[in-house]
Symmetry: C2
Amino acid sequence: MTRARSAERRAEILRATLEVIAERGYRGATLGAVAERVGLTQQGLLHHFPTKEALLVAVLEERDQWDALPSDSWRLDLVASLVDYNAMRPGIVQTFSALLGESVTDDHPARDFFTRRYVTVRANMASVLRGAYGERLPGGLTPERAAVLMVAAMDGLQYQWLLDPDSVDMAESFREFLTLIEGRPGTTDEAADTD
Amino acid sequence: MTRARSAERRAEILRATLEVIAERGYRGATLGAVAERVGLTQQGLLHHFPTKEALLVAVLEERDQWDALPSDSWRLDLVASLVDYNAMRPGIVQTFSALLGESVTDDHPARDFFTRRYVTVRANMASVLRGAYGERLPGGLTPERAAVLMVAAMDGLQYQWLLDPDSVDMAESFREFLTLIEGRPGTTDEAADTD
């Protein structure tokens, strides 16, 4: 197989995996189900991705590339829009959250991916915050300190939302978090009703 | 076995599991390792806890009982102290975080535990916040809305800290989060250096 053909096949497998994840969630995204979708034997699929974890990490890396914007165009409302968008794709959020959970155990194959990813994501978020507010946010934190909390809030909200979507509005809660780091109380609808 | 004897044995198993978790983490806390620690066969252990998940959920429930304070004595600085305390017990935090990750997948045995737990924890946190600030926090949110974010920040920080403890100071970041919901910028040491 030529290198171009192999890259094409790889991209096809990742698209198929994303479809299977959307339809059947993290548990349903087995190597067998993905192999069937792309018309490969499981052995053939293993040639491209040696384990389920390797396949799912590749899907998450691919998603990060699609989600990424040129660093100079990052705006805080785009981050909120990304959370809105995630609320419409529970399968991939479930996959991210399940794999993140596994990754904190010793020697997990996805541990390195998530560790590196957080370094990058925190730096990107700090850059967005610096672009919007300079060296000190209205809420009092530096962009770097606020970035840690912004990423934590996004991830933490995902778990509460996945477990109980009727009780937790992930996108609305994230916008409320933004009002906190922006230091502008009373700007959400809910806050407006008594102040 | 009498009921009292069985409850005693159960408590002994939970203590042993906590020790194994502290020493070997989530992955090392196998049914075999726990059985050996308490001098039971694996079959004997299965009599008390039918699966590893059931055993670990029982450990987390037990931890919640120890961590809980009478609802009228909850104060916000005690919540921050709980995060300080968690920073000294990575094994149980790893177990919580790994099991939470698994629980968002379909039909996972721990899903019900975490869903119910979040309902309770959000209500407890809202009650703490209401006790401290009344119906509207200085940062503008209601106690219920802030509670969602407070729990999300705690959980999200745990993942970043478990993956990269040298880069993320979970306890310090959580105190910074509290300054945001309290709407008192510039009260952390770091914020004080330029304002």
